[in-house]
Amino acid sequence: MIAAPVSYSPLVRRLFDQLPRAGGLAPGPGQLVHGEARALDRGAWVRLDARIEGGYVADCAFRAWGCPHVLAAAALAAAHSSGQPIAGGLPIDAYRMAAEMDAPEEKLGRLLVVEDALRAMLANARALQLR
């Protein structure tokens, strides 16, 4: 009979307060791609913008609508992608986001939307290279 209010880990709080890499990308060399995923009913809409240089994500920024965990996860996804090769595996997936953020179970559905956006961005980056 104990009501559990939402609680946020220190990492979530810090990312939410600062929203690092939110908004547009800083200008720079390379090619621009983006990946977007949207599931409003699950409470998430995420877009990742990236600058690709030499097979690597030179820089990544996010835009997102959602709860604090979604915004923090989008920030995590942008941070983990930056500097990573576009050819490798996912730099971070929903389960690792959840673990790093100590997110409650019921938030996993929306973190998968963040993962979808990340996958889409990397797929677009790889498609760009093939062209």
């Binding site: 908004g23 009913d41 809409w45 995420v46 835009r63 609508w65 604090p68």
Partner: protein, 397 residues
């Protein structure tokens, strides 16, 4: 204990208002007073002294709504009052009266009681209010049936502050000799209430929304004609047999004092609070686009419900956490926040409901707090919007 080291601006008076310091002091005096420690049901001197204190409180509480002291039944809060009114009147109504009229925008306590009646075989007409949040009195009149046991509607809505026309609804109930229950938890002490004028047969309210303690409430029960009520709680015959249990002297004393204080400052406070609310609304324009949920008037003075397209409720609450204490448009007492059924009933989408914030003012609210809150909220909204995907503001509204 997650307490911040500075205190947030409290704009959640509709959830509960801080106890007035004068009321707190009086309750402490009551708790300490060795002559007031008896059970008000006992005939010895300490019991009689406690009973006299209780009756003083009953008179103060009655006066707030223009009632006779004998028509006040003390309860543990508005939730219990509402349940006693709805379940009590319906269950006492007999086999021929198995129909209830209420609205979708009622408080959970009324919804819960009416759903229980459905499980018991009653039919409930769930009226839908207009986009302004008001239940049309003509719609109420049309919904009445020969087997109607009870009409139950709220005076002021707890999320939007919008007022129902209880005078008009009361008139059509009175004409048909029907029991009419008014949930006045949000309006008692905020607006003048006269139980005779409004034609309520039953009227619920509580102490903790008007500067009194939590855990105590009242149900006004008209004496003539007197509605039949089946008690929820049986026992020692207190409260004319309608509500058993030892009467909590200090709680009732606090309730009485809070009613007296509210009544004394009512006209001036209503004007002051309404002006502060409009100042808040003006101050929030820096976060345009924004919309007001429900009609601006007629309304209870202290509630403003605002929708910020593109904003997600939980994020707005966290952005304000520790700075402004307010309620989002979701039933946010669990991690799985459900969108407000009240706002949904006004025609808002789930997302629009979650983009809403209820700001509710009270006795302690100052102009400075309002100005700071407006700025903090507008800044948070702007910050969150700056991180939105393009098109989100138009999509989520």
């Amino acid at each position: 204990m997650p307490v911040t080291d500075f205190e947030p601006i409290y704009l959640d008076h509709a959830a509960t208002a801080p106890v007035d310091p004068r009321v707190a002091l009086l309750m402490y005096a009551c708790l300490q007073d060795s002559t007031l420690q008896g059970n008000p049901a006992s005939v010895h001197a300490p019991g009689r002294a406690a009973a006299a204190r209780v009756e003083l409180a009953r008179a103060q509480v009655a006066r707030l709504v223009g009632a006779l002291p004998e028509s006040i039944v003390f309860t543990s809060g508005a939730t219990e009052s509402v349940n006693l009114a709805i379940l009590g009147a319906a269950r006492a109504g007999g086999a021929k009266f198995r129909h209830i009229v209420t609205a979708r925008t009622e408080h959970r306590s009324a919804l819960g009681a009416c759903r229980q009646l459905e499980r018991e075989g009653f039919t409930v007409s769930w009226l839908a209010p207009g986009a302004d949040g008001r239940v049309d009195p003509a719609q109420v009149a049309d919904s009445l049936r020969p087997d109607t046991a009870l009409v139950s509607l709220m005076h002021a809505n707890n999320e939007t502050g919008v007022l129902n026309d209880i005078d008009a609804i009361g008139r059509s109930c009175r004409e048909r000799g029907l029991v009419f229950h008014v949930d006045a938890a949000q309006s008692a002490g905020k607006l003048p209430i006269d139980v005779d004028g409004c034609g309520a047969t039953l009227l619920s309210f509580c102490a903790h929304k008007l500067g009194g303690p939590k855990g105590v409430g009242a149900l006004y029960v008209r004496r003539q004609p007197r509605p039949a009520l089946q008690p929820l709680i049986f026992g020692g015959g207190q409260e004319g047999g309608l509500r058993a249990g030892s009467l909590p002297t200090h709680q009732l004393a606090g309730f009485g004092a809070a009613c007296e204080l509210a009544l004394a400052s009512l006209p001036a406070e209503a004007v002051r609070i309404r002006a502060l609310r409009e100042r808040l609304w003006a101050g929030l324009q820096g976060a345009a686009p924004l919309w007001r949920n429900g009609a601006a008037e007629p309304s209870v003075p202290g509630i403003l419900n605002v929708r910020f397209p593109g904003i997600e409720g939980e994020s707005l609450l966290l952005a304000l956490d520790g700075r402004v204490a307010a309620s989002s448009g979701s039933a946010c007492n669990s991690a799985a926040a459900e969108p407000s059924y009240v706002l949904r009933a006004l025609g808002l989408s789930d997302l629009a409901a979650q983009a809403s914030l209820r700001l509710s003012l009270g006795r302690g609210t100052t102009e400075d707090e309002i100005d700071r809150a407006a700025e903090l909220i507008a800044n948070s909204v702007r910050r969150l919007r700056a991180a939105l995907p393009l098109g989100a503001i138009e999509t989520i509204a």
